[in-house]
């Protein structure tokens, strides 16, 4: 059963029940009031009637001049009173010792045992009398009885009035009330179903939205409107969807970059392999190979094998950088630069490039081997970008809470797009130039990884034709835990 069905049925049942009870209560109250008024009226009439009989008796006594009535006189007066009553509306009867003496308009047996038993005691003007409402078929009568003491004899006087009218009225009112109740139920049902569905409609919307999100439309956001509960629900769902989306994107990003890395690696390995295998195969299957051809073919094989060697070396470095924990030590930057100069300056000098360095006794907390590898790669890159006669500069300055190392060249530089992608694994601005220089496209990716492990910021400032400076801002205190981020 749907929620709105439940709410609808409960509300409708409650409303109908309360209207029903109220109407019944009102009808019953009105009826009781009418019955009690009719009872009062009957009592009044009864007492009026009995007073009439007494006055007739007294009149007869006065007329005869005797203090007592003669035998049968009282009874004739009673018969006369009954005869007078016969033309009226109400009925009456008089009994003496259980024997009926006179009666008029009596529609029911008045002196039956059950009737007398069910009568209730009432008092009117100091006189005791009794009343009962008697049902006879579909007719109702109110019967009033009292004792008439006449000349030492006890007479019982009964008067009867018909009450069928008010019972009929009550039945009619009840029917009206039922009719009204039916109509009310229908109208109520219509209004309720409209109102409830309208109130619950945001629930359906939220539900559909969650369904879509669950099916993978993580970018979907719910409309944050409706009553407060629904607004909060929508907000929470949106917050959830946002975090799911971010996580999915992050994981997708990692998966994508891994796949990209593998694809690139496969390409980078297969390209030299293709040349090696192809030329080796030619040397094997050709019947005659000229000296020139042999030199050319084997030259390519050696060159491409070296390329593979570089690639595997860089991959090793990257793997080591990915898994090793930095072994932090306080390094003297002066000393570090001097060591770099010692190993690299001769290599650079062969290409006609001068390596300069400047520092003023800064101290750096970092892994010695990793930082050297970092600087080696950066200086190598700088040298590759430079022409003969140009310089490469290593320098160090102290920043706010950081030690900034930088490697500058005044070579060909890079455009903005290249700078943005420079740290991607296997990204090469100029493939043929990179290959000629024995590059594998992994140097800067390695540098970025090493920087990341040290919690250092790597920033590249470059413009085409104006050279490049790579800044490395190392924090003075290294991060407590080495960054375990995913690397590619």
């Amino acid at each position: 059963m749907k929620l709105w069905h439940k709410v609808f049925l409960c509300t409708l049942a409650l409303a109908v029940l309360s209207v029903f009870c109220t109407s019944q209560l009102l009808i019953q109250q009105e009826f009781s009031r009418t019955v009690s008024a009719e009872t009062d009226r009957s009592l009044t009439e009864h007492s009026f009637f009995s007073a009439g009989i007494f006055s007739k008796l007294n009149y007869r006594k006065a007329g005869s001049g005797q203090p007592f009535l003669g035998d049968g006189e009282a009874e004739s007066i009673l018969v006369q009173a009954a005869a007078d009553q016969a033309g009226g509306k109400g009925g009456m009867a008089v009994y003496r010792d259980g024997v009926r003496i006179a009666s008029a308009n009596t529609p029911i047996e008045l002196r039956s045992g059950s009737l007398l038993e069910s009568m209730e005691q009432k008092t009117l003007n100091g006189e005791e009398c009794r009343t009962v409402i008697e049902k006879d078929g579909d007719r109702y009568h109110i019967v009033t009885a009292s004792l008439l003491p006449i000349e030492g004899e006890e007479y019982e006087l009964f008067t009867v009035r018909e009450l069928t009218g008010i019972y009929r009225a009550r039945e009619q009112e009840t029917r009206y009330a039922q009719g009204f109740l039916l109509l009310f139920s229908l109208v109520m049902a219509a209004v309720l179903s409209l109102v409830i569905r309208r109130l619950l409609s945001p629930l359906g919307r939220v539900n559909r939205g969650i369904g879509q999100i669950a099916r993978g439309e993580y970018g979907l956001r719910l409309q944050e409107s409706g009553s407060r509960e629904f607004r909060e629900l929508s907000q929470n769902v949106n917050t959830m969807a946002r975090s799911v989306e971010e996580n999915v994107e992050r994981i997708q990003g990692i998966a994508d970059s891994r796949k990209q890395f593998i694809d690139n690696l496969a390409h980078e390995m297969k390209t030299p392999l293709t040349s090696i295998l192809g030329f080796a195969d030619l040397l094997r299957i050709k019947r005659t190979v000229s000296d020139k051809q042999r030199r050319e073919y084997s030259g390519v094989v050696v060159e491409e094998a070296k390329r593979l060697q570089t690639l595997s070396g860089k991959l090793m470095e990257l793997a080591v950088a990915n898994h090793a924990k930095p072994d932090y030590a306080e390094l003297d930057v002066d000393l570090l630069f001097r060591e770099m100069g010692l190993t690299m300056a001769p290599l650079l000098a062969r290409r006609g490039i001068r390596l300069l360095w400047e520092s003023s006794g800064e101290k750096l907390t970092a892994d010695r081997e990793l930082v050297k590898s970092l600087l080696y790669n950066l200086v190598d890159n700088a040298a590759k970008a430079s022409k003969e006669g140009e310089e490469v500069l290593l320098s160090c300055v102290k920043g706010e809470g950081t030690v900034i190392l930088s490697v500058s060249d005044w070579g060909i530089g890079m455009d903005e797009k290249t700078v943005r992608r420079a740290t991607e694994a296997f990204y090469m601005a100029d493939k043929s130039r990179s290959r000629k220089n024995g590059g594998a496209g992994l140097g800067l990716a390695l540098c970025a990884r090493i920087a990341e492990m040290h919690g250092a910021q790597l920033r590249i400032k470059s413009a085409p034709g104006q050279g490049t400076t790579v800044f490395l801002a190392f924090p003075e205190t290294p991060p407590a835990e080495p960054e375990g981020g995913e690397s590619t």
Binding site: T274, G278, D281, V300, E303
Partner: protein, 218 residues
């Protein structure tokens, strides 16, 4: 002889392919840039394009889409082994797909198949008085018809298409019997001996120890 354009950005691979193709006498041009390749294909009249998928500027798929109307057959060369890429290339209309690295003879065999399919290949092969008509499946030596079984015919054709190239038994088996063939290399030897005997190729179709066979030009 057919004219082939090699679109490949790696200089050494391009040189290797060129050396391989010129070994059997194809004329080749090289091109390392995507848009330059499109221009040259549309303007030129190449019989076949060897197209690298990963190229700077414009990738192989894009080039293929652009030159489709020209109708020049294309064989893809790629380092990617993704089945999706393979299907994509073939669906775009490539004739074949070779995954790097590849052997020289495999490349030549694939090229031969594609050229024959597109009728730009050799219809007749000649070697020292032997004439092979590829369409009629007829072999004559000095004007006299030599009867050969279909497999012997295939073996002879394969050697004549690769004169002076050493052919390994595995290569021959793959080319004639298919890669699934699980027979012994003895089968290959018997067929080669039959061809040698029927066409009197002793001293020309030579056995190279530890390698295979080679049909040598004089």
């Amino acid at each position: 002889m057919a004219e082939i354009l090699i679109v490949e950005d790696d200089e050494n691979i391009a040189r290797m392919i060129e050396a391989t193709l010129s070994m059997v006498g194809y004329r080749c041009d090289g091109c390392a840039d995507g848009s330059e390749a499109v221009r040259r294909i549309l303007e030129g009249s190449y019989d076949l394009i060897l197209l690298d998928v990963m190229l700077p500027g414009m990738d192989g798929f894009e080039i293929l889409t652009k030159i489709k109307n020209k109708g020049t057959p294309v064989i893809f060369l790629t380092a990617l082994q993704d089945v999706g890429d393979k299907v994509k290339g073939l669906r775009l209309g490539a004739e074949d797909y070779i995954v790097k690295p590849f052997e020289a003879v495999e490349l030549l065999a694939r090229i031969e198949v594609v050229l024959r399919r597109t009728n730009a290949g050799r219809q007749q092969l000649a070697y020292d008085g032997i004439l092979v008509d590829l369409q009629k499946h007829v072999v004559t030596k000095n004007g006299e018809r030599v009867p050969l079984t279909p497999k012997e015919f295939d073996v002879l054709v394969f050697f004549m298409q690769n004169v002076d190239i050493a052919i390994t038994r595995e290569r021959l088996m793959a080319a004639i019997w298919g890669y699934e063939f699980e027979g012994e290399s003895r089968t290959v030897d018997i067929h080669v001996q039959q061809v040698r005997r029927k066409l009197n190729l002793k001293g020309k179709l030579v056995t190279i120890p530890k390698l295979g066979y080679c049909l040598e030009s004089r």
